[in-house]
């Protein structure tokens, strides 16, 4: 009697632990990484490296927020990398003709426009998100090359110093990204539109029958993704001081990886802003550490792949 009770309690504790582990496994992985880094390197904990780390994760952080929103609806957005290039090259090129704020606005709006196109094709024409965004990924990249085959450099020096600069030791871009995470969290958890988006990924038909305009919300998700990618492009141009037309290729994979490590379920039905932040951070940390130890990029890719598999395996349900 007593024995079976204690067995039950132990079982319950065990399953709860396992569930926690499944939810936040990345945090554990992340702490272990820090410990390794701290014990082997005397550079890691320098202010310079930490602020560098933050600068490096800005791009993926912003893109991942948009990607998360789309994944929550049950979709995927492969066009994010091309949108980064589009907005980076537009913001750099346009500021030679118009004032910087206007150039930024135009670049971000261009990202939103691609989002609308993606969203309308997915929602109204019922096309597969993978195919639609694969098509726009190629088409937008083409538009970028049509606009400029050669790299563009931002001509306005304040653009670089303002958006590429620092407040104290903290990069401005990182501040923007760090503000965006709670914003997206509130959107997804505290706003009607956000709850609808989360529910759509779980069961689109049930949401439609609950009197919610599903198409509108799907379009909104792709627009959010387009906007965040465009903002990432603007900040990237400001940091690098140059916008290559080839920039951003492959970024969609990093963003998808960050979401998945953070608990997002491709096809909808799971994921959130907090987990995604963990995913972004983990990936950034791996890059940072391996660079510090001068590990070749190829090995970095292998390790990243393993981490993604590990994260998905840990969360696997029986």
């Amino acid at each position: 009697m007593n024995a079976s009770l204690s067995v039950q309690i132990r079982q319950r504790l065990f399953t709860r632990l396992r569930r926690r582990w499944a939810d936040y496994g990345f945090i554990v992985a992340f702490v272990i990484l820090i410990l390794i880094a701290a014990s082997f390197s005397d550079v890691f904990f320098t202010q310079r490296n930490i602020s560098n780390l933050f600068r490096q994760i800005v791009t993926n952080g912003l893109i991942s927020l948009g990607m998360l929103t789309v994944i929550l609806t049950g979709g995927i957005d492969l066009s994010v990398g091309s949108i980064v290039a589009l907005s980076a090259i537009l913001v750099s090129g346009l500021q030679q003709q118009v004032p910087v704020p206007l150039a930024i606005l135009a670049a971000v709006a261009a990202g939103g426009l691609v989002g609308i196109i993606n969203g309308v094709l997915v929602a109204h024409f019922k096309l597969a998100p993978f195919i639609v965004t694969l098509a726009t990924m190629g088409a937008v990249r083409g538009v970028v090359y049509v606009y400029s085959e050669t790299p563009q450099t931002p001509s306005d020096p304040t653009f670089r110093t303002l958006l590429g600069g620092f407040v104290g030791p903290v990069p401005v871009a990182a501040v923007i990204m760090l503000i965006c995470f709670p914003l997206v969290w509130s959107f997804l958890n505290r706003m009607a539109a956000g709850r609808a988006i989360v529910a759509i990924g779980g069961n689109q038909e049930a949401v439609r029958l609950a009197g919610i305009n599903v198409n509108q919300h799907i379009i909104l998700a792709y627009v959010i993704s387009g906007l965040f990618s465009a903002i990432a492009g603007v900040l990237l141009a400001a940091r690098l001081g140059i916008a290559q037309p080839s920039v951003g290729s492959g970024y969609e994979l990093d963003a998808i990886a960050a979401c998945v490590i953070g608990g997002a379920v491709l096809g909808g039905g799971g994921g959130g802003a907090i987990g995604t932040f963990g995913g972004v951070f983990t990936l950034g940390l791996i890059d940072n550490l391996l660079n510090m130890f001068n590990v070749q990029t190829y090995y970095q890719q292998i390790l990243k792949g393993l981490i993604i598999l590990f994260a998905v395996l840990a969360r696997r349900k029986e």
Binding site: R190, N203, E205, A206, G211, G270
Partner: protein, 500 residues
């Protein structure tokens, strides 16, 4: 004569995530027997049959077949031991043809290995279906184009084609019409005389009494007892399942029927139903009966705007209305509880809170932001009033039992305070206690003046709850009965086209 029974499951225990689904269950059954297993949702029936079919592993105990211990670690092992299961959830592959589904993994090949001999395959599949008395199914059609009841028959054919010694049927009748059910029962008798053990799981006790040789009752993961149908009756069986006697099954109600709230005139939708006209009054429960495929569900979905009608008029409180989407319907005060909660009633990956509040988000939203206190208070009140278990509103709906899931869907629509509530099979796949709860809620709503359209294929439910009954057949309204006129025989005859 053998001393032991063919199948013996001994001291079987299984727990999921700390909840004990089965506690030391010992169960036995013999060849040439139809053995029914009954119990409320969550009693452990599904776990027991999943263990037997190799889908789930058990923690402790042993299984003996013909006196020899066997290990059923995977469905493959179970197949090899001669066990086949037909689940409630279909295991058919939608875009493959009936033939491929029935013969999956053993398609006949022609002279060249690897090349399918299609003529032979179709013939073999057709033979199997004919042999079982399942007619009217074209073996060349993809399964996705079949009606649900035909899909169920294909599923059964697939299992039976393997000539299993033990056949498990899990709620096989849920989607079958009366006629199809008769054929299934004939098949079960045929298999029984061919010395097969049939384990029959069903919520419908009248079926169980009709077909079973023995009935085993499960409750809270333990076996309450095994009885012979001739030694018991429905009331005593329910008492065994629930552990107490239930009060009034269908609440007594003084119908205070008011003026007309909804009227439908000449409603038609190509390929689904035609020229449907009826009216529904305030405080009235209007039953709608019909066999599977009679168009009942489509009428409901059309009124709700889920599949807008091609022609016809809908009036709400005397005013002609246009409904183009579920949103329009909701805003006008019409709500629909759909027949399949998992398909289009619930977001399983979301919480109780999200699901209950989903249809009424605009009411608790200001400037796009949700008032979380208000949301929680409203949801909490529904959870208490409908006694949803567990009462933690952040729990995922996926983790709830069928009865509680159904209560969540109902709570969602109750929050809309609709004037017209359409309930399509509101008690499908829920336990008896929840059923009674739902009947009482319906009765209370009617007392408050809500007009209720109750669609159901369970005759006792229709007869017990409705003030008036409509009967549909092949997309048309073919009969209307008052409560006093209606009887099981008349409704069935009318639905089958034998009565005008």
């Amino acid at each position: 004569m053998r001393k032991h029974e063919y199948l013996l499951m001994q001291d079987i225990s299984k727990s999921y995530d700390g909840t004990q689904a089965l506690r030391g269950v010992t169960f036995s059954a013999d060849l040439g027997e139809v053995h029914a297993i009954v119990g409320e949702n969550g009693a452990g029936k599904s776990t027991l049959i999943k263990i037997l079919s190799g889908a789930v592993r058990y923690d402790a105990g042993q299984i003996l077949i013909d006196g020899k211990p066997v290990s059923l670690d995977s469905p493959l092992h179970a197949h090899q031991a001669g066990i086949r299961a037909v689940y409630q959830e279909f295991s058919l592959i939608p875009h493959l043809t009936v033939t491929e589904n029935i013969l999956l993994g053993r398609m006949p090949h022609g002279k060249l290995r690897g090349w399918v001999d299609w003529t032979a395959a179709h013939r073999r599949a057709q033979d199997i279906l004919d042999g079982l008395g399942f007619t009217g199914i074209d073996v060349r059609t993809p399964v996705s184009q079949l009606s649900v009841s035909h899909q169920q028959m294909v599923e059964i054919a697939k299992a039976v084609a393997e000539r299993p010694r033990i056949l498990i049927l899990d709620e096989p009748s849920a989607v079958l019409s009366q006629e199809e059910l008769k054929r299934l029962f004939a098949l079960v008798q045929q298999l029984k005389s061919a010395s097969t053990l049939i384990l029959y799981i069903s919520h419908r006790l009248n079926e169980v009494f009709e077909i079973a040789d023995r009935i085993t009752v499960l409750k809270d993961g333990e076996i309450v007892g095994t009885v012979r149908p001739q030694d018991t009756d429905e009331g005593r069986l329910i008492k065994m399942m629930v552990g107490r006697t239930l009060g009034e099954f269908y609440p007594k109600r003084e119908a205070k029927v008011g003026g007309e709230v909804l009227a439908v005139q000449g409603l038609s939708r190509e390929g689904a139903f035609a020229d449907v006209s009826f009216s529904l009054a305030r405080g009235e429960i209007l039953g709608m009966f019909g066999l599977v495929g009679s168009g009942r569900t489509q009428v409901a979905r059309s009124i709700y705007g889920a599949e807008p009608p091609d022609a016809g008029e809908i009036r709400l409180e005397g005013k002609t209305i246009k409904i183009r989407s579920p949103r329009d319907a909701l805003q006008l005060g019409i709500a629909l509880l759909t027949e399949d909660r998992k398909r289009d009633g619930l977001v399983l990956s979301c919480s109780i809170r999200d699901n209950i509040s989903l249809a009424t988000l605009p009411e608790v939203t200001r400037w796009g932001f949700l008032n979380m206190h208000q949301v929680d208070a409203r949801v909490q009140r529904q959870v208490q009033e409908l006694t949803i278990r567990p009462p933690q509103i952040q729990r995922l709906v996926r983790q709830l039992s069928g009865g509680n899931q159904q209560k969540v869907v109902l709570a969602k629509w109750l929050l809309t305070h609709a004037k017209v509530l359409i309930l399509d099979e509101p008690t499908r796949g829920v336990d008896i206690a929840t059923k009674v709860d739902i009947y009482h809620i319906m009765s209370d709503l009617a007392d408050q003046g809500v007009g209720i359209l109750l669609i159901s294929s369970e005759l006792p439910e229709i007869l017990g709850m409705s003030d008036r009954v409509l009967v549909m057949r092949e997309g048309r309204l073919v009969g209307e009965f008052t409560r006093a006129q209606a009887s099981e025989e008349k409704l069935l005859a009318c639905a089958a086209g034998l009565l005008q």
